[in-house]
Symmetry: C2
Subunit: 220 residues, 2 copies
Amino acid sequence: MSQSDVEQMKRPLRRDARESRDKLIAAARAEFADHGVDASLEKIARGAGVAIGTLYRHFPTRMDLLIAALEPRLQEFVEGADTAMQMDDPWAAFVAYLDNLFAVQAGDRGFNDFLSRRFPGNAETEHIHDVMCQQIEDVLTRAQEAGKARPDITRADIVNLIWSNGRIIDATSTKAPTAWRRQLHLMLDAYRAERAHAIPEPPMTDEQLYDAMVHLSKAK
Amino acid sequence: MSQSDVEQMKRPLRRDARESRDKLIAAARAEFADHGVDASLEKIARGAGVAIGTLYRHFPTRMDLLIAALEPRLQEFVEGADTAMQMDDPWAAFVAYLDNLFAVQAGDRGFNDFLSRRFPGNAETEHIHDVMCQQIEDVLTRAQEAGKARPDITRADIVNLIWSNGRIIDATSTKAPTAWRRQLHLMLDAYRAERAHAIPEPPMTDEQLYDAMVHLSKAK
DNA sequence: GCTTAACCGGAGGGGTGCCTCAGTTTATTC
DNA sequence: GAATAAACTGAGGCACCCCTCCGGTTAAGC
């Protein structure tokens, strides 16, 4: 149940409040998309033509605003993910899942950051990450069971790829906006069962993975 | 010719100045290694037990201090790179070059950041990057001509890998400090010539690559 | 139109960081 | 041991950013 649902149950917002809220979300979408999840909240308020106090009235924490701002991106991702997972061919499903994920990631720095980080206090975002993790597990296992993906990789390797992709997007989004796709397809060659060579390093455990994502979300 | 050479030609530093300089470099090494090239200069001065004005007296710009701080890391890298490039087997040389580079990268966040960024104003760092770029070109071409590395990859792809690796290191250095090696070996599987699949995206041009590295060095 | 709860604005306190400069201290030289 | 250039200090100006609080404003319901 999202925050807006809760609010609607309480009482409809006053007209000016509704407008402020909408303007804030619009400004936040633009700002997070351009500058990532650490974008300045004061700048977002300015962009919305609203005072900083109003921003905090509507969104007491950065995460509240971020979740509202990322909603369409999440929607977009979920649709593409569902389509991919319904594909008959396991390898095609695996490829389509990643391509969809990365395409959304490439279009929004906020979403890009969001993918690499976990916010332990926040049940809503934790749930999103858990679901994604499970989907990756499913789509990967299916490709492995069909003999298409090498059996020695785990979801931790896919998360590595998500991090990698995020960094490439950060670097290239302005000057070579589709460059990430090249790296993805190179990596797909690495994932193929028929080309596999032994890897001299075990995959990360789930705990290491989780800690790493929390680590990325900490202020440096 | 490095800055310290220039200074030695002018006149020996006063004893207290020499000490301040040494303490600053030591503190900078620790701080850059832990927090990357954007570490706080005031914190470095505090760590050195010296006033902020003294820091600026010795190192007028952040880059001056960074270069002094990274010197041992560069040394370390150069030695490993030379060893790798002298190997007889072209594929082994390619692998050894990357493994050395990434191992150094994994040990120092400052060096890690430094690798991904270019600073157009600074002749010294530009030169380092140019040399590295040429080495990558050499070692890759040699592996390709020996038929070991697929012919359709370029140095831009290796730079992508450096960025990727950097991000993985950022995420994992505290909890899974050798995790990066797994991703490297997966990627090596992707680079192998045998049974390579076509990549539906051209490599970045040199200009795109350069711009991307400058972009990463800009304040977000 | 009056009331009032809801809403808004924005000053202000607290924090961090960059960088400068005037006043003080100190190593060195004679 | 005095003279002096070199070096050091740290307060202070500037620019951000986060978040709170309270006086003023306004939409909505009667």
